[in-house]
């Protein structure tokens, strides 16, 4: 989890990220931030989360759990 949060901090260029945060509320959130996250997950976990699946995720921890359920972190 710690490592995943660090990766998110890096791609979103945002200082503090909490697993319970609703990431769409971040000031840094936009369609390109979304792409950066998809790309980061592809790089680090070798998986591309389909857009319609990602739309169902709301909190930071949801992304983490999604990756965890589909890939061994």
């Amino acid at each position: 989890m710690e490592q995943f949060l660090e990766q998110l901090v890096e791609v979103l260029e945002r200082e503090d990220i909490d697993p319970e945060d609703e990431f769409r509320d971040y000031e840094e959130w936009d369609s390109l931030a979304f792409l950066s996250i998809i790309a980061m997950i592809d790089d680090n976990y070798d998986m591309v989360i389909p857009g319609e699946e990602f739309a169902k995720l709301n909190k930071v921890i949801d992304i983490y759990n999604y990756i965890n359920n589909h890939h061994k972190i």
């Binding site: 390109l32 792409l35 998809i38 592809d42 790089d43 591309v48 857009g51």
Partner: protein
Amino acid sequence: MALLTFDRIGITGVAASVPRQKIVNAESTGFFTPKEVKSTIQKTGIAERRKADKNICASDLCHAAAEALLAEMSIERDEIDVLIFVSQTPDYRMPVTGTILQDRLGLAQTTAAFDINLEGSGYVYGLALAYSFAQQESIRKVLLLDGETPTKVYSFKDKAAGLLFGDGGSATIVEKIDYDNPTYFSLNSDGAGSHIIWIKGGGYRHPSSAETLRVKEHEDGSIRFDEQGVIDVAGFFEFTSREVPADMVRIFEYAGESYEAIDYYLFHQAAKFINDQIAKKMEIPDDKLPYSIHKFGNTSSVSIPLTMVSEIGDQLRRDKNRIFLSGFGAGLSWASAITSIDRCLIPKLVEI
């Protein structure tokens, strides 16, 4: 599978053209906030692009590129037996633009001329067809024209597309050559993703009407009507991250070639983050990955020949290079190719 093989056929000349009128993205604030502009420039790499005015069509850009190329190569007009025009922005809905260009270029009436209306994959599909024709004994030269004016397709007030597109044209000569040039193509399609990039209205499924012309504000703040293009950027990115690397694996395996043997990887210039992502995955070094997107934006299928001329023109003029080409876009449609280009004739970039 649509895997094709050719030999002793090659690209002997390439020209590209762009409109003179420049759009500087950093100055495109107003509808876009400065932060949106900065973030888009950073991630897509698109600093500037070119815009055709209302008097310039894709066919005009191709015509200018073709005239420059025929002059540079000293080609007689009657040596051209096939003209292929690749575009999604034709002059008319009917007839095809290919015949109009046949006449404008003064080519013989015995020339085969037609259009291919593919988007980002169009140049590679067009090349596959050009190589196929060139293989025929009676065909001397194939003229592949590829031009697009996407700035006329998308709304400048579209949050996803408003800053991305640029216009351009190109001309390529494909013919028989007297040295070995094993060439491979892989052509693909997935219509399940037909809505990822599309124009809903104005065709025969949803004919032009007051409704398709009604300007609407959308959830993300974009302002456009249904006869303008729409892109689902996330869906497109998901597609390219998955399918482009998979097709590379397929064609290299089919060709039995190594990635190291390639001198240049020419990807469709859709957005820098897309190509960077593919390059990272496939471990392609930066010096083999030319970009023209910072100067011309996403010019749809024209981006591959435009990158050849503007970024590696000198290398292609001077030496023999093994190149990989990959086009991908609306359809969904994607295609890859491996071929060599040996001391190709390339006139200077044409501006009209």
